[in-house]
Amino acid sequence: MAEARDDIPSTRGPDRAGERSSGRPRRAGWFSKIAPGVRKLVKPKASDTPENLWVKCPDTGEMIYRPDLEAALWVTPAGRHMRIGPDLRFRYTFDRGAFEAIDMPRVFDDPLQFTDGKPYVERLASARKTTGEHDAVQAGFGRISDVPAVIMVQDFAFMGGSLGMAAGEGFVAAAKAAVERDAPMVAFVAAGGARMQEGALSLMQMARTTLAIQDLKIAKLPYVVVLTDPTTGGVTASYAMLGDVHLAEPGALIGFAGPRVIEQTIRETLPAGFQRSEYLVEKGMVDRVTPRQELPLVLGSILKTLMMGRARSQAA
């Protein structure tokens, strides 16, 4: 189910280096400090300046001035919502970018002693090095348009955002934090699917995260999912499709089976727009396509209304 490979850099790859500068002054020479994997991923084309001040638009090929792209929340003039990770999500979504990080539980690394030529422990180590994070899920608590909320973010840059034990426990911890704080939970999801290197233990995360959502339901706390590019496999088939409300960023690939698998199965070319956010709205699986810039306000409005209803029922 996990179709996306962690080691295939996305053509519209996020520039994680940009995020690392969040909240602190940009250091000179930061680019040379990141690991070769990421450097390759964001490798400046010959046409780029050495300072990497320009980013090539994956759709039009146009060169975009990096500070402009950052100011546009990594949405290109053509409307492409480039992939971003937890740091930027928190900064863009929480009021004034302020939040309290929620500790992500540590799990057993490599329970199966898995290797597919390259040992899983090495893949983990290199993902940790390039992202600076321990695994694919991060969570924080802050305010969204003044509503206190927990945000969970799945980082596609970390082994394709894949759902393994760490991400599963991270989701469970985020939901628990929401219940403890009596706050709603917002999940920004992005993943190729399950983490195959953890075998059936990763499959079990589909059930474990679903249980965590039940705890939110019992506490009558809203659970809102924001589907981002790409969300497929076991992640879509569990917590990504169990929200009270589903929002999606424009143009995101969202599905159960990946397009390649479907094409191989049915031996047909897929229609244009298939499995994109707009298609899911049309098919009734997503409530609304929401551009990145509007997300804090839209999320705030939804959470405000739901929490007001909840407060009324509790007062009654």
């Binding site: 189910m1 329970p111 290797t115 233990l201 039940q214 169990l242 599905g255 479907i262 699986m285």
Partner: protein
């Protein structure tokens, strides 16, 4: 089943050759009218049995995958036929269609009224097509939800049987919300206030399997497999070479023994010598006996206790390795 039509797996080839010889010899012995070959035939039969025992005692994960997919292995409807009295099939998801990749209905299991459901792969070309080779579309999972709702309403335990390569990857399935259907079915298992036991009888493939396997107890047949993705799928994604399925099968720890160690399954149902397909009646009876034993303590629990037990069971997975 006669020797000639029997389906042999690749690793069984030496046994197949020997058994062909035995067959030839026994024909020869019959036409000769004498009993002169009997002793020799008995010795050869004993040798074949020994070879089969040895082969099945040391199956590697890829060989187990072959056994789990054996076309003559008992399927869901074989279990229903032998274990469920007065089975009445209930069809359709009440929303769009009936998906025969998941079959379900009402009946009684050794006297206890139950809801029973499972993936059915079919056993010949016609039935395989009818059941879409056990790969369900959203309607299959929505039917499962409907059956679990009924189980809850009428206080019926749910027995589910897992045997699928995975949920079907097609345009229509995506269009109608395959992911949502699987997620809701898993969720319904976990919120169920009735006892539920899932038995992996063949292939437990990915999300399409767990959607009806998030149960109080999860059993697995000795040679069945349960995995996050098929060995072929993992090989083509991770090794970028579909022919490395044997390596992927070993690396992903998909066998019953591995899964017991990882606490993903609770109990292994032993199979007859030569696998469940060698003696389907005995295999099914063994499943029945263990199901009966496992169901009994669950019947004493309240709905809240059942939900709690299920939640504790799944939350515990991966938190410690004994």
């Amino acid at each position: 089943m006669s020797v000639q039509t029997r389906h042999y797996l690749e690793f069984e080839r030496p046994i197949a050759e020997l058994e062909a010889k035995i067959e030839e010899l026994s024909k020869l012995s019959e036409t000769a009218g004498g009993n002169g070959l009997d002793t020799e035939l008995d010795a050869l039969r004993a040798r074949a049995e020994e070879m089969r025992r040895d082969a099945y005692a040391t199956l590697d994960p890829w060989q187990k995958t072959q056994v789990a997919r054996h076309p003559e292995r008992p399927h869901f409807l074989s279990y229903v036929g032998a274990l469920i009295e007065e089975f009445v099939e209930l069809r359709g998801d009440r929303k769009f269609a009936d998906d025969q990749a998941i079959v379900g209905g009402l009946g009684r299991f050794r006297g206890t009224p139950v809801v029973v459901m499972g993936h059915e792969k079919g056993q010949d070309t016609t039935t395989r097509l009818k059941h879409n080779f056990g790969s369900a579309r959203p309607e299959g999972y929505r039917k499962a939800v409907r059956l679990m709702d009924m189980a809850e309403q009428f206080n019926l335990p749910v027995l589910s049987f897992i045997d699928t390569a995975g949920a079907y990857p097609g345009i229509g399935a995506e269009e109608r919300g395959q992911a949502e259907a699987i997620a809701r079915s898993t969720e319904r298992c976990l919120t169920l206030g009735a006892p539920m036991i899932a038995t992996v009888v063949g292939e437990g493939g990915s999300g399409g399997a767990i959607a009806i396997a998030a149960a109080n107890r999860v059993l697995i047949l000795e040679h069945a497999i349960y995995s996050v993705i098929s060995p072929e799928g993992a090989a083509s994604i991770l090794w970028r070479d579909g022919s490395r399925a044997r390596d992927a099968a070993a690396a992903m720890k998909i066998t019953a023994e591995d899964l017991i160690r990882l606490k993903i399954v609770d109990r292994i149902v032993p199979e007859p010598l030569g696998g469940a397909h060698a003696d389907p009646a005995a295999a099914i009876a063994a499943v029945g006996d263990i199901l009966e034993a496992e169901l009994k303590p669950l019947l004493a629990l309240t709905p809240d206790e059942l939900r709690r037990q299920r939640a504790d069971r799944f939350y515990a997975i991966g938190r410690s390795f004994g």
